[in-house]
C-alpha cells in the first residue's frame, strides 16, 4: 500500500484504493449532508451538528440496507 501510494501521481493516476473503496462512501455522505444542511438550516451555526446527525443517519441506513440485502441473499440462495 505504501509503495503504491509512493508511486501515485495525483490527477494522472487513480488512487490505489481498490481494496478500500467502500470507505469512500463516508466523504461523499459528509459532502452531501453539509451542502443539504447549508441549504436547509436557517442559521449557519446549526450546520455542523445537523450535518453530523444526517451523515450518521445516511451511513446507518446504508448499513441497514446492506444487511438486508445480505440476509435476503443468505435466505434465498445460501440456506435454501
Amino acid at each position: 500500500m505504501t509503495a503504491l501510494l509512493a508511486s501515485y501521481t495525483p490527477l494522472l493516476q487513480p488512487l490505489p484504493l481498490w481494496d478500500y473503496w467502500v470507505w469512500l462512501i463516508i466523504p461523499l455522505c459528509v459532502a452531501v449532508s453539509v451542502v443539504y444542511k447549508t441549504i436547509k438550516c436557517q442559521h449557519v451555526h446549526q450546520i455542523p451538528r445537523e450535518a453530523a446527525g444526517i451523515t450518521l443517519w445516511i451511513i446507518t441506513a446504508m448499513i441497514g440496507v446492506a444487511a438486508g440485502v445480505w440476509l435476503t441473499y443468505m435466505v434465498f440462495v445460501q440456506w435454501t
Binding site: P10, L11, L12, Q13, P14, L15, L17, W18, W21, L24, P27, L28, A31, V32, V34, V35, Y36, T38, I39, C41, Q42, H43, V44, I47
Partner: protein
C-alpha cells in the same frame, strides 16, 4: 403673556428635538435600507450565473458569506476529491474517444466531428458530463486537462472499473450539489426573509 411665550418656546424646542430625532431615525433607516437593498435587489439570473461561475458565490452576493464559504468549499473539495480518486480522465468529455482524439463519423461521404453530427446522442452517451458541467469553469479546466492528458505521445489512460465509477460519482454529485445551491441562492434572492443576514 410671559407664560404663553415660555410655552411656545418649550413647544418649539420639543418640536425641534423631535424633528431632529425623526431625522436621525430616518437617516439610520435609509442607510439600513440602502445597505440591504444593494445586496438584495440583484437580478436572479446574475445570482445563478455567479453561483455557476464560483460555487457558493450566489450566497455571497445576497449577503450570506458564511453559507457561501461552507457550500463552495464543500462542493469544490468533493469535485477535487473525485479527480484525485479516479484521475483527471474521469471527466469523460463528449465528442472525444478514450485516446483523447475527436470522434469522427462520415456524413454524406465527408468526415464530421461526432459531437457536431449528433450532439444530443453524444451527450446522452455520457450523461454524467451534464452533472459534472454544473461545477462551472473548474469543470471546463478539468475538461481541457482530460483532453490534453488523453492525447499526445504518452497518453494517460482512464482508470477502470470501480475507481473510475467512484471518481465520476464524486464529480457528478459535486455538480448536482452546486445546482441545488444555485437554486437555493436564487430563491433566497427572489424571496428575501426578514431575518436576512442570520446566516451571514
Amino acid at each position: 403673556m410671559k407664560t404663553q411665550g415660555l410655552t411656545l418656546l418649550a413647544r418649539r424646542i420639543r418640536d425641534d428635538r423631535t424633528s431632529h430625532l425623526c431625522d436621525r431615525v430616518a437617516r439610520i433607516q435609509y442607510r439600513r435600507f440602502m445597505s440591504q437593498s444593494s445586496v438584495r435587489h440583484l437580478p436572479t439570473p446574475l445570482i445563478a450565473l455567479a453561483g455557476w461561475l464560483v460555487p457558493g458565490f450566489g450566497y455571497a452576493l445576497i449577503g450570506e458569506r458564511k453559507r457561501a464559504i461552507i457550500a463552495g468549499t464543500t462542493i469544490l473539495l468533493t469535485f477535487l476529491l473525485g479527480l484525485l480518486i479516479g484521475g483527471i480522465r474521469v471527466i469523460d468529455v463528449p465528442g472525444y474517444g478514450p485516446d483523447g482524439a475527436k470522434k469522427m463519423v462520415t456524413v454524406n461521404k465527408a468526415p464530421m466531428w461526432k459531437l457536431r453530427a449528433d450532439v444530443v446522442g453524444e451527450i446522452m452517451y455520457k450523461p454524467w458530463y451534464i452533472a459534472q458541467s454544473m461545477n462551472g469553469p473548474v469543470n471546463l479546466l478539468a475538461t481541457w486537462g482530460s483532453i490534453i492528458a488523453g492525447s499526445g505521445e504518452h497518453p494517460v489512460k482512464a482508470s477502470t472499473a470501480r475507481i473510475f465509477d467512484i471518481g465520476t460519482l464524486y464529480t457528478a454529485v459535486a455538480g448536482m450539489l452546486n445546482l441545488l445551491v444555485i437554486i437555493d441562492a436564487t430563491y433566497r434572492a427572489a424571496h428575501p426573509r426578514r431575518d436576512v443576514g442570520a446566516g451571514a
